[in-house]
Amino acid sequence: MEPQATDPMNDQPSPAETSDGQLVRDTLSGNRQAYDQLIRRYQRQAVAVSYRLLGNTNDAMEVTQDAFLKSFTSLASLQRPEAFGGWLMRIVSNLSLNYRRGRKVRSQLPLDDMLGKANEQAETGGGSEWMSRDINPVHRMESAELGARLQEALNQLPEKQRLAIVMFTIEQMPQKDVAEALKCSVEAVKWHVFQGRKKLKEILKDYL
């Protein structure tokens, strides 16, 4: 079960909270804690998007860390600080697609060590410090085939349509953020979603 939107580690900014634009400006002024807030604000969304493109949580986390590093080092080049979320997702999706194409992203952290510990615990049926699996066998049996078919269908979509479906329909990102991530207009996002949906309907007609 994924953390809910109320998870304090993953809250999107409320009107009372500091805006993305302000956090970006604070970071550029030398306030490193401001960037930590951005990490906490977007880490779940970034890992989720990457996971939908890669199909593997470990790879998604690795790519997400790399994306946060890249965004930090090139933060000064961000034209509109308030568009940080969409800009970060563009970095995440580009890195994920590159990762899929075979280019290995250098790990910046000893993730393997941490996940190794987690994997050992998972193998013995224990919980993990980092991750825990959904071990409900009934749920997994029921959804396994359809889930695999859905993932396969998603992978068949053209890149823009797949990204639009993943970010807008599945992760329910705001359309303007998706538009920023895809470097297109909001209208184009609607069109990509529609075209992707039409193709999915055709591919999955036996399940509808």
Binding site: G30, I39, R44, Q65
Partner: protein
């Protein structure tokens, strides 16, 4: 409205991105159009599947992940110049580029304004003429093969004012590629048509 347009509207309806007016019009149509209802049901089904049936990501300890990412950023930041330094560096470079550009434009403007000291035309380099001599014409060793006959036949000259004919009538020209006189056209009057 084509089926494609209808499907696009229904897709936006599912996403709640239609305008109020478009939404009302579509809902009115959905009340009676069975085909539209079918499309709507399919799109909603796809949305539900995408949100509930895809393989779920393993749970992540977000607090630890955030801390680890933050440490990675710290490590990367320690290797790089401070952000503020980078900003000032970029600012300085931008200012220097602007000054150079402005100076260059002013210099060119000043030079073109004086006129006399403007760029001088560069004389063209002298062109080279290359003479190529082909094979020289060889004089023929054979007798001429063409004769030209102008004017009326000689037997008509006395009686039919051949000079008038030459002056007032088109002359005849016979070109015969042989010196043989018998082959010449001497039997037609220049007045004949």
């Amino acid at each position: 409205m084509t089926r494609e347009q209808l499907e696009y509207q229904i897709s936006q309806y599912v996403d709640h991105t239609l305008s109020t007016h478009e939404k009302a019009a579509l809902e009115h149509r959905l009340g009676t159009d069975v085909e539209a209802q079918q499309i709507l049901a399919e799109y909603r089904s796809i949305n539900d599947m995408l949100r509930t049936q895809l393989p779920t990501m393993e749970e992540v300890n977000w607090e630890q992940f955030a801390s680890a990412t933050s440490r990675a950023v710290d490590e990367a930041d320690a290797d790089a110049p401070p952000v503020t330094y980078r900003i000032f560096t970029w600012s300085r470079m931008a200012v220097a580029a602007s000054v150079l550009l402005a100076g260059g434009i002013a210099f060119l403007t000043f030079r073109s304004g004086n006129g006399a000291s403007g760029p001088q035309p560069v004389p063209a380099a002298p062109s080279q003429v290359v003479r190529i001599d082909g094979p020289a014409a060889e004089p023929s060793t054979q007798p001429a093969v063409a004769q030209i006959s102008v004017g009326p036949a000689t037997e008509l000259a006395e009686t039919q004012y051949p000079l008038d004919g030459i002056v007032y009538q088109p002359s005849r020209v016979s070109l015969i590629a042989t010196p043989d006189d018998t082959m010449q056209d001497t039997h037609r009057s220049p007045y004949q048509r």
